[in-house]
């Protein structure tokens, strides 16, 4: 940019304009001239700001041009109770402390991550589990009945539930008994706020009935839907010993507490019953094989081996393994695909005199004001 010679008429004109604005016209004109010198590189920008800062402040009471921003600081600080200047030394200290905190955070963060991932013993000395031979199950419901009776379960509570479905390329009815998977990385244990959910060193995932507060968080965290909450007082008396290894964990709990398939903990320390569950003992078709999955010589592992030999190959799966839960119920057979659709059971729950959906029996007693109004009660109450 070339600096143009000023036209005297123009100068007069600007002078008039600035005078009209009731400010020091001389200052404006001088600054304008110098601004042109800045543009042509005759003087530096910094020099320009410095030269006029005082004059601007005097004339306008404020100078908001960038270089002079420091002048506003006093005003900013006046209301704060912090010191109005920070020494370089303090700044260094703060920077150093920040870096240290950052490093500490990184270390803590990694540790926390490692801790939450490994909180639950993934490998227990003994891991009770099951091998389920789907090819042999015919849906007779003997195991379900045995489980219900043994644990005194309420109407419509199925710790052991038989899912029946048809699938693409498998139009026949397929059956899948669903147990608790007693996962090695159980989400229910992770989320329990009070540690009522725990994994024993024999691999059983259990609920401490004396500690559970009934928040039902475990039920929302479980990907399998195996949990049953005791919504009201239990309907039947308990016939088994609920305390195992000092904690009350077996059979149905009392009102307000969570329950689920427990792999019969009361049997696992009893001579003669050790290593068995009621469902396994009662299944007439040899579908359920219960034992220590860590032990290659255990019943379920021997069964897998034998089946492999018989057929030359076997297909096994665990339910929804993509959730990272490490389930300990191994199914022999085909996994239900995304196209699996529910189908009626060969032998229905109704034919056993059971109610399929617990919703149907959950309703609670009638409140006093309904009775007072003479409203009829609907549905059974348990």
């Amino acid at each position: 940019m070339t600096s143009k010679r000023e036209n005297p008429d123009m100068k007069e004109h600007i002078g008039r304009l600035l005078r009209g604005a009731q400010v020091d016209a001389g200052l404006g004109q001088e600054a304008a001239r110098d601004a042109q010198r800045v543009a042509s590189g005759e003087i530096s920008e910094a020099k320009f700001y410095e030269k006029y800062h005082g004059a601007y402040l005097k004339e306008f009471g404020i100078d908001l041009r960038p270089e002079s921003s420091r002048s506003g600081k006093d005003e900013l600080m006046s209301k704060s109770f912090f010191k109005d200047s920070i020494s370089r030394r303090t700044l260094f200290k703060v920077a150093g402390a920040s870096a240290a905190v950052l490093a500490l955070n990184m270390w803590l963060g990694r540790r926390a991550l490692a801790a939450t991932r490994d909180d639950i013993p993934r490998v227990t000395p003994v891991q009770y589990g099951m091998v389920i031979d789907l090819e042999k199950c015919d849906g007779c419901l003997t195991c379900v009945a045995a489980c219900k009776g043994h644990n005194s379960l309420d109407e419509a509570v199925y710790w052991l539930h038989i899912i029946s479905y048809t699938d693409s390329n498998r139009p026949e009815v397929n059956l899948l008994p669903r147990f608790c998977n007693h996962c090695s990385n159980a989400p229910c244990i992770k989320v329990c706020p009070v540690g009522a959910r725990f994994k024993r060193d024999d691999g059983l995932v259990l609920i401490d009935y004396d500690r559970c507060i009934g928040c039902r968080y475990c039920m929302t965290a479980c990907p399998y839907g195996v949990n049953y909450f005791q919504w009201t007082d239990p309907a039947y008396p308990l016939n088994i010993e609920p305390v195992s290894r000092g904690r009350r964990v077996a059979g149905r709990p009392e009102e307000g507490i969570m329950s689920k398939c427990d792999f019969c903990p009361e049997r696992q320390d009893a001579a003669g019953a050790k290593g068995t569950t009621i469902c396994q003992l009662t299944c007439p078709h040899n579908v359920i094989h219960f034992g220590d999955l860590n032990d290659p010589q255990s019943e379920p592992n021997r069964y897998l081996e034998q089946k492999r030999k018989e057929k030359g190959y076997i297909s096994t799966f665990g339910l929804r393994e993509e959730f990272g839960t490490k389930p300990n119920v191994i199914y022999i057979g085909q996994q239900p695909s995304a196209n699996a659709r529910l189908a009626p059971l060969p032998k229905s729950y109704e034919s056993m005199g059971w109610i399929a959906e617990r919703k149907e029996v959950l309703g609670g007693p009638q409140p006093w004001f309904m009775k007072a109004l003479g409203v009829k009660e609907n549905g059974p109450v348990h």
């Binding site: 209301k79 419509a156 989320v191 009070v194 559970c212 039902r216 949990n227 919504w231 959906e357 309703g363």
Partner: protein
């Protein structure tokens, strides 16, 4: 902003020149009107609220006596139910409402947002009371509330690094203590200066509140308040409603409707929307009852409305993010959950209400000429109620469409029972009682410094 405040002050002062008191004193008198002898209307309100509370108490007794069976909840899985429902939905809602209060008050202190100054005390009181309601809902939700202390406290240290529920309990407790301290510190100052003008019957309360108060320490207190505000403004959004509350849900892969990393910002935007909406509503009720047109001016409502519109916009934007992710090429579970959500009429009622509120308040921000206090309050209230619906739907729908759907009972069903609905009446009654009584005891608006020099 500052200029216009000065402007109104000057004009009102000249209008009432015949009153001998100074402008500040006159305002203080207006504020202290709440402490006067209760009117008939006051007794009617208190009686109605007490009745509402009684009704709920008998409903709760019914639940304690018969078990959670009297709720509409059931197990998911073979039972085809939903194990968390209105209690948890209301819990999130109240925590969200609790947000606004203390954040507004902290922002006034930290960023000198003088326009919100008149509502700070009310907002702080809202924080404390709403947080208490949230806590109550957790108790209502539990199957064994009697074990709250015996089960949680002894095992706290071994669970605190695992269970998101314990994170919630921890952070909410921290938040409660912080805001409680905050409000107490600022209140003591006011009470000390106004002591001779406060009703004598509550003297023991004031003595308790003023325990070990030293007027010479006001500088120090001011400093403490600043740091408390600083802690709150960082902790409340980032750790509480954008942190542990959504984590309760988003960390569970078993429920695809919940399992999304966007829940943090989503929950925060929803919380702030409802928080601002409820502050608007509360401030309006007080303004109406006590004729506080100049104490809580239109401008305060106008700016609160602008804030609400902004947060509501984020709310809707984040909903869009979820729907688009859940529909374009979703996993099976996520697709099912999204389908269920967008085919549910109540969801659109909630979203539509938030959108309507945002559009009106946004327009009013751009064209202040269309401002109306009535409409602003209506829009605020609409947003608050829409959030309650959205929160309940989020919880219920999330659980109704689990990833593992090979059950007779999928999707689950839930509708709140009379016991659960009664709890709403109960907590609203308690809020009404709280504000009615507090307004009779302490000034619910901070009285300016000059006010007490008479």
């Amino acid at each position: 902003m500052a200029q216009s405040t000065r402007g109104t002050r000057v004009s009102t002062a000249s209008a009432v020149r015949e009153v001998p008191a100074t402008e500040a004193q006159r305002k203080a008198n207006l504020i202290l009107r709440t402490l006067g002898t209760p009117s008939v209307k006051f007794y009617v309100l208190v009686t109605l609220a007490a009745l509402g509370l009684l009704w709920w108490l008998q409903a709760w007794a019914f639940q304690l006596g018969n078990g959670m069976i009297v709720t509409g909840l059931a197990d998911w899985g073979t039972s085809g139910g939903v194990p968390w429902g209105m209690y948890i939905g209301s819990f999130i809602w109240w925590v969200g409402i609790a947000h606004g209060g203390i954040i507004i008050s902290a922002a006034v202190r930290l960023f000198k947002l003088e326009v919100f100054k008149p509502v700070t005390r009310l907002a702080e009181l809202l924080t404390i009371s709403a947080l208490s309601m949230a806590g109550l809902y957790i108790i209502l939700h539990l199957g064994r509330p009697d074990r709250m202390v015996t089960s949680i406290i002894p095992h706290f240290l071994e669970r605190v690094h695992f269970s998101p529920l314990i994170w919630d309990v921890t952070v909410i407790t921290m938040y409660f203590v912080l805001s409680g301290t905050y409000i107490l510190l600022s209140l003591r100052e006011d009470i000390y200066h106004l002591l001779n003008r406060l009703p004598k019957i509550f003297a023991p309360v004031y003595r308790m509140l003023l325990f070990a108060y030293d007027p010479g320490e006001s500088k120090k207190v001011e400093r403490m308040l600043w740091w408390l505000a600083f802690a709150v403004i960082i902790m409340a959004p980032l750790l509480l409603h954008g942190g542990v509350i959504p984590w309760l849900f988003q960390l569970l892969p078993s429920m695809p409707g919940w399992n999304s990393a966007i829940q943090g910002p989503q929950f925060l935007s929803i919380a702030l929307t409802s928080a601002i909406g409820s502050v608007i509503t509360l401030a309006f009720i007080f303004r109406k009852i006590y004729g506080w047109k100049e104490i809580i001016p239109d401008k305060t409502f106008h700016r609160l409305g602008a804030l609400l519109a902004l947060f509501a916009m984020f709310f809707l934007w984040l909903q869009l993010q979820q729907i688009i992710t859940g529909s374009f090429a979703p996993t099976l579970g996520m697709g099912r959950a999204t389908d269920a959500k967008v085919n549910n009429l109540p969801y659109w009622v909630a979203i539509g209400s938030v959108a309507a509120s945002m559009i009106y308040l946004g327009a009013q921000t751009i064209y202040p000429a269309i401002f109306s206090i009535g409409r602003t309050v209506a829009a605020g209230l609409l947003a608050v109620m829409a959030v309650l619906l959205e929160k309940a739907l989020f919880v219920i729908e999330g659980l109704a469409f689990p990833a593992f759907n090979l059950y007779e009972g999928v999707p689950g069903h839930y509708s709140p029972s009379w016991v659960e609905l009664s709890s709403m009446l109960g907590v609203f009654s308690m809020m009404a009682l709280f504000f009615a009584l507090v307004a009779k005891m302490i000034p619910v608006i901070e009285v300016t410094e000059e006010g007490e020099e008479h």
